[in-house]
Symmetry: C2
Subunit: 350 residues, 2 copies
Amino acid sequence: MPVTLKQLAARAHVHPSTISRVANHDPGQRIAPVTRQRIEELLRETEYRPNGVARGLKLRQTLVLAVVIPDITNPFFAALFRGVEDGASPHGYNVLLCNTDGSPERQRSHLQSLHARQVDGVILASSFLKDPAVRWLRQQRIPYVLVNRYSDQAHDPFVGSDDVVGARLATAHLAALGHERIGHLAGKATVSTGVLRRRGYLAALSERGLSTDPRLVIESGYTEEGGARAAQQLLSLDDRPTAIFAVTDMTAVGAFGAARRMGLRIPQDVAIVGYNDIPLASRMVPALTTVHVPIHDFGSAAARLLLEQVETGEPSRRRVIFNPELIVRGSTAAGAGDEPRLPTIGAKLR
Amino acid sequence: MPVTLKQLAARAHVHPSTISRVANHDPGQRIAPVTRQRIEELLRETEYRPNGVARGLKLRQTLVLAVVIPDITNPFFAALFRGVEDGASPHGYNVLLCNTDGSPERQRSHLQSLHARQVDGVILASSFLKDPAVRWLRQQRIPYVLVNRYSDQAHDPFVGSDDVVGARLATAHLAALGHERIGHLAGKATVSTGVLRRRGYLAALSERGLSTDPRLVIESGYTEEGGARAAQQLLSLDDRPTAIFAVTDMTAVGAFGAARRMGLRIPQDVAIVGYNDIPLASRMVPALTTVHVPIHDFGSAAARLLLEQVETGEPSRRRVIFNPELIVRGSTAAGAGDEPRLPTIGAKLR
DNA sequence: CTGAAAGCGCTTACAG
DNA sequence: CTGAAAGCGCTTACAG
């Protein structure tokens, strides 16, 4: 049992409130230098640290934040979490991590549990479009920030990038390489990134005058397995696409695997572009062309937006939008990868 | 503001304690079925959830655990965390995540902060040999479990695998392939995995009658960058090793990069073995031969050991040791990789 | 300058 | 069966 104020007070022959005052360096009250010194000595000696739970109850502030994500084993969310912790930790906050696996029920139950625990705020990276859970957060006046995925356009504090722009960049790049049949491993229709990246993909196609064959768009969700499954389907078409834009790097990884299993070469038989630029992307062979977004910055910006609200006590609608940036690597440009020793077999592109 | 017991009591015209009793389904006390029904209805209607902070103060139990690790962006720790959450969450616990980046100071300060917050227990995967922070945990009677790295042999509750056995497996495999100059990217001398895996490596060499050239052992630490640096050094030797055993998969990833940059082929010019079998290992090209350990199980077993202590109130010295298992892939056996379409250039091994 | 009290929201032993 | 009280460990407005 850690030492308590009352015990310290008994030892110092003063009232607990006096100890509390010097422990908190209370600036308003002036304490007699002699007693202050005596108490400070005692504090140091006993390594007194106020009980955070009691403090939280009294002050209505727990100094705990929560990050709610689909899955921490997805490198995107690991980098995001680091950003949050790096942003919040210097301000004295600890951060709870909750994985939902993309399930609205788990998200909901986590949020309720976090609320009961009186966390000071939550960063939500797993929200759905028109997510009732987000409305609930708003209504409960729990400070929150949405990251990467939004729920109601412009209604929530948000950190992310312009997904339409990013997806257009990716797709236009493939078109510029001469691809005419470009497939899309689509995110979910219930998630903003799914809808917007699909929209960007379609926009780029029509800007280039390319037809938009609906059979070339298959929902993959956001997992490697989903990407593999959808890519396999796409690449089994009679007139299969020569290029694929995957909604995330992880689904692109799945597509890599599927292509390999089908004996297709990347990028010669099928070019692949991902989204996010997770650390894994540049290490793949061939390295993955992708849309770079500053993941760590997403996290730290979200922490900043959240702490702002916590400290002012005012909800915010601020949005921080980063610019997506295309990174061309070997998975779309034969020979441009980081695998110079592999013989280039001659691109088929026109 | 969530609804409180007092408010509910006013609405139901009963004493707060009565509400508390039915909310907690207090089995000892019997409540009049009529009032119970009325109150249950009210509870449902208001979605009452007891304030966890107040409850924590009274019950001296916060239902919060903490996981302290070097870095969540290392896939090993992400999988470990999932194991912990999956093990603890069904029991009503939330889990704080703290990254130390391998710094004893950060570890120490996180631990103190967690203690002040009265977390119910901590899972520590970043401990050093004879770690004073671990002794401090013991002395403060904070329930804890060490994972993967131990501090004082057999003195702490621990979940992990036999690192000497695993390292011997890896090294013996290389020797069996005919390698005679086998390098080692070593962990730190201050960390159990570093010491034990180095020991296993040396044991395997001497069992095979191979000389142990000290220049072939270079400390890489546990990061990709460290692995790249150390591998580069190793591979620059006049009589460079033909095989490398890396203390972890992440350092092996660094070694891959270094080898590539030096124009060396894997496995023909240099064979590489890692440790842990993170998801990335099987996706590399060539796929990484490594020592498999059940990372997710590490986490859930640690959660189990921790909750055991929390619930009994007794510290434990139980140890859960999993068997490491060698997984042979393309990085040591030319042609055995998952990249069948790459031309095999002819192995140099005798 | 310091003490004493109230109160954050809960649980539970004690009465009745 | 239910109420009233005490107390978990803190902070802070109020006295003096």
